[in-house]
Symmetry: C2
Subunit: 211 residues, 2 copies
């Protein structure tokens, strides 16, 4: 049992070394050799934990998703017992953007992973399933918000969900300094204000809410 824990812990350490390589040197440097160097272990020792670049990348991505879910869960706890659906969606959206160090690392990992997915069926399936699962959570939130009168019933829940996910396009704009983090947040807030406008429950984050 302790040996298995050690094994898992060591895999996590290696995944973090992989993040470091992607974050600091870029995906073009991502190889078992570079990660072994960053983790301070031998290439042979690394292969004891991951037999391929693919397996390593896949585990690192799972870990990134896991950590993101954890940050969202913590954020949800802070929102209290009956959070406004606008606040829940905002929390999820903002966590997907590279606005703090952990989210930026995850978003760079994710970009590297998506590029890899285009040429690797297994990673493609893993990435698709992960994002589709997240998409479903957002769609359920949107449908519930429509049913509860927070969002106008005129809105198409599928299209609205897809648009919310597409807003992760801010990632590139922020990373390239085309749009500043504050401007991105302003745009996201205006977007959410309109999504939640013209309904029974008021117009969004400030005032007008009823529970």
């Amino acid at each position: 049992m302790p040996k298995q824990v050690d094994h898992h812990q060591r895999r996590e350490e290696i995944a973090r070394a992989l993040w470091q390589v992607v974050e600091q040197r870029g995906v073009s440097h991502l190889s078992l050799r570079e990660v072994a160097k960053e983790a301070g272990i031998s290439h042979g020792a690394l292969q004891h934990y991951f037999t391929s670049r693919e397996a390593m990348l896949s585990f690192a991505m799972d870990l990134a998703y896991e950590q993101k879910s954890l940050r969202i869960s913590r954020g949800l706890q802070e929102l209290g017992d009956l959070p406004h659906p606008r606040d829940v969606l905002r929390l999820m959206l903002v966590e997907m953007l590279p606005l703090h160090a952990d989210a930026r690392a995850a978003s760079r990992m994710s970009a590297a992973y998506v590029l890899e997915a285009l040429h690797n069926e297994k990673i493609h399936a893993q990435a698709r399933d992960g994002i589709a699962q997240g998409r479903l959570v957002v769609e359920q939130l949107v449908r519930q918000a429509i049913a509860d009168g927070y969002i106008s019933p005129d809105r198409d829940p599928v299209a609205e969900t897809n648009l919310l996910l597409a807003l992760t396009g801010f990632t590139t704009l922020i990373e390239l300094d085309v749009v500043g983090p504050q401007d991105a947040l302003t745009a996201v807030d205006q977007y959410l204000d309109r999504l939640f406008a013209g309904n029974d429950h008021g117009t969004g984050s400030e005032g007008g809410r009823s529970r």
Copy 2:
């Protein structure tokens, strides 16, 4: 003079070989050696045209932007003399998504390039300038559409421009088969319908337009 033309033409051929490598094998295979192989020339001959991976990538990206601009120009011509601003924005947005082979190749190139930009100041500056220039064109369109009464004056032109650009986030969703191309277009159209709703000129692509 003919020699210079040849030189430029050969550089274009090499850039296309680079696209092929990125498109078919992925950015992790992007090296001078792989591109030389794809272009059917020797590594030494390639270095006559590009002295570094960075120079090659930078040229290939310029070429991709150029071709995208050309496709948009052609699309604009088809829209006639006084195109509706909604149609112009739709054309630009759709061309940014991987909905046909050329746009997909450009978008994969672009994704590889953005990842490279995170760890290369020169490429970062080039990518930022290219996207910022495109952003400015969109902002001018949005401001003009507000001035001409196509978009409500309540809308913030900066945030609206940023949101339009952020919708390129559909790229990942389409590439990973999380959102189908048709569903992405439906969402973009609903988005544009709302952006152009509630103004002097009617509600978007169908009917209600005045010139």
